[in-house]
């Protein structure tokens, strides 16, 4: 087997947030700061799906936003296909797509307009754009609704449109925060099938979720994030150590929580 090509490298990522008074109350803490991500490191390789597994508030979204250059880490660094997230923001942005389960679109526009709009922003040539648009619209059954305003589309169709317009530039790395959140089973299946397709095409996909079965179904490797810390990170089989993912997760969770109290 060929040596895997490292596409994403994350090293010692840290991020803390200043808590507002309201948040302090919400999280029942007197601490001024919340360390959302603590020294997180991992790598992802070409042609694989990497899963970030963790409960709510574990720091999954923060990690992903940092990789997508939406927020800057306090410490640590990351490279996407060699481009540094701190110093080469625009290269990073051209190489990746960042999607979230609740990604919203401007309701007023048609899928066709949005596709062209994002293509322009990503500097995609018109000929390339038209070809890609046709392909993707067909793949997701959007072609019939290409000229219908997003506001008039079903929730599932909207999610497909938002996925499609996020990858107009044919990125090599796709970061997807909670890919099946809020989707009906049919759309969820379309999305997960598509992620597997991307993997087949040699793309690198990073997903985050709290759903064990989703990781088991899709991911080659998994990182378990608890309280901002990566407590395990390896191939699915290695992480599980013979247990089911769920059992293994709760074992790790208890250790982490127990350690916190001590």
């Amino acid at each position: 087997m060929d040596k895997p090509v490292e596409i994403l490298k994350v090293s010692g990522l840290c991020k803390r947030f200043k808590l507002s008074a309201k948040q302090q109350k919400l999280e029942r803490t007197k601490e001024k700061y919340k360390q959302a991500v603590k020294d997180v490191s991992f790598s992802a390789y070409k042609g694989e799906i990497f899963g970030l597994l963790g409960p709510n508030g574990a720091g999954k979204t923060t990690t992903m936003r940092t990789l997508a250059t939406l927020i800057r880490p306090d410490a640590g660094n990351a490279w996407i296909d060699g481009a540094n997230i701190l110093t080469q923001e625009n290269q990073v942005r051209s190489k990746l797509a960042f999607l979230t389960g609740d990604l919203k679109l401007e309701q007023f526009f048609t899928p066709n307009y949005l596709f062209d709009f994002f293509s322009d922003l990503h500097g995609v040539e018109p000929q390339v754009r038209e070809k890609r648009k046709q392909e993707l619209f067909q793949r997701f059954g959007i072609d019939r609704y290409a000229l219908t305003k997003v506001a008039e589309l079903s929730q599932g169709m909207r999610q497909k449109v938002s996925l499609v317009v996020s990858i107009v530039h044919d990125p090599d790395v796709i970061i997807f925060d909670e890919p099946t959140n809020g989707l009906d089973v049919i759309t969820a299946k379309t999305v997960t099938d598509f992620l597997l397709e991307l993997k087949e095409k040699g793309k690198t996909v990073i997903i985050s979720t709290h759903i064990f079965t989703l990781i088991e179904k899709l991911c080659d490797r998994v990182g378990i994030l608890i309280n901002g810390q990566m407590v395990a990170c390896d191939t699915l089989a290695n992480v599980c150590e013979g247990l089911s993912l769920e059992d293994r997760f709760f074992a790790l969770y208890e250790t982490a929580e127990g350690g916190k109290e001590a």
């Binding site: 997508a68 797509a97 919203k104 307009y113 994002f118 922003l121």
Partner: protein, 381 residues
């Protein structure tokens, strides 16, 4: 650059593609203002229309022989009893006006030499809020004035000085328009800018923009330019509605045509730069808001400030002869407009105003770019 243009076009497409939104923001305010002012004008006029078939009743004391005939032709004269209060008489609507001549008016007038001694005085009472009383007052005034002129024969009140009429109109516009324009422009800016910044945050679409390789300053600039263009159109529609309807409101004595190309060009320069500044300021504030609603609340104090500055302009307070004052944003705009509209020497003030506005706008765009970089602000939870 290309990214900026794409953002610019998208904002315009968003706005003009929505016919209803475009109509409500741009045309409706102008049409409404025009209709309301015109109606108000017509209403005020018709309210003041006296009943012309009516012969006015006037209580007169010491009717002089010289005027008796004339007065009897135009009104019914009631002698004023000693001790009767003119005010009460008018309030009770028994008479439309009360005219008090001094005893021996004719003799006094005969004896009076212009510039020497005390001129005989005539007191005329009326209630100007009552149309009939007001009309009677006008009638009596004109009779008395004519008589006075005929006697002294020195005044020439029939001369109509067009320059002074223009100056008077100018004064009127100068006192009211800056305040109106500033307020109208501000509200147009608010409605478009809060939607395009806070709205995108609220809907979560701003993140999608920010992960494209378009620089944040270009995103900020593209938005601000598009929003300014829209706000400008809305402002122009408002201004047009106002200017066209003011003559109706004021009874046809005013017209915007007293101004020439120079005034309109200067005004346009001030308005354009002011809109840029306002849109930038509102966009900045909106960036801190989580929703459009919150943004409107947050920008309200600025509205109060704009109105306050407008009122200062109206009152003609501190109309700036110190040129440094023209560097203060918003204040400079309303002062510069006042200067232009009252035919003042507006060249340098306008230059300073535009310069200051553009400087502040650029500063604002820079700040907005910073804010677009700030996760604390964009992903506030």
């Amino acid at each position: 650059m290309k990214g900026m243009l794409t953002i610019f076009k998208k904002e315009l497409a968003r706005f003009f593609g929505d016919r209803r939104l475009a109509f409500v923001t741009i045309f409706l305010p102008g049409i409404l203002i025009y209709t309301i002012y015109s109606l108000m004008g017509t209403f005020v006029m018709s309210d003041m229309q006296a009943d012309s078939s009516l012969t006015p009743v006037v209580a007169v004391s010491e009717v002089p022989i010289s005027l008796k005939g004339t007065l009897e032709q135009i009104c019914e004269i009631l002698p004023l009893e000693k001790g009767q209060d003119p005010q009460e008489l008018i309030d009770s609507q028994e008479v439309n006006a009360v005219l008090l001549f001094p005893e021996n008016f004719d003799v006094l007038v005969e004896a009076y030499e212009v510039g020497k001694g005390v001129a005989p005085s005539v007191e005329l009472y009326c209630n100007s809020s009552d149309a009939n009383s007001y009309a009677t007052n006008e009638l009596l005034c004109s009779v008395l004035n004519t008589y006075e002129t005929a006697l002294v024969n020195k005044f020439d009140i029939t001369q109509i000085d067009t320059v002074s009429a223009e100056a008077a109109s100018g004064q009127f516009f100068a006192s009211i328009l800056p305040m109106l324009l500033m307020t109208l422009l501000y509200s147009s800016c608010t409605s478009v800018a809060t939607e395009a910044i806070a709205g995108e945050k609220e809907r979560g679409t701003i993140a999608t923009l920010l992960i494209t390789p378009v620089s944040r300053s270009h995103i900020a600039l593209g938005k601000i330019l598009a929003l300014s263009l829209i706000a400008l159109l809305a402002g122009a529609s408002n201004a047009l509605g106002t200017i066209l309807s003011l003559p109706k409101l004021m009874g046809g004595e005013l017209t915007g045509s007293i101004y020439g190309l120079r005034e309109y060009a200067l005004l346009a320069a001030v308005i354009l730069s002011t809109v840029l500044l306002m849109v930038t300021a509102i966009s900045l504030i909106s960036t801190f808001a989580k929703s459009v609603k919150e943004a409107s609340t947050m920008t309200a104090p600025l509205m109060v400030l704009v109105m306050f500055l407008g009122v200062i302009g109206m009152a003609g307070l501190g109309s700036a002869d110190n040129y440094a004052l023209y560097l203060i944003p918003l204040y400079n705009s309303s002062q510069a407009m006042t200067t232009i509209l009252s035919f003042g020497d507006a060249g340098l003030p306008v230059l300073l105003t535009v310069f200051s506005n553009i400087l502040f706008t650029l500063g604002g765009v820079w700040l907005l770019t910073k804010l677009f970089h700030s996760e604390k602000i964009l992903f506030k939870i």
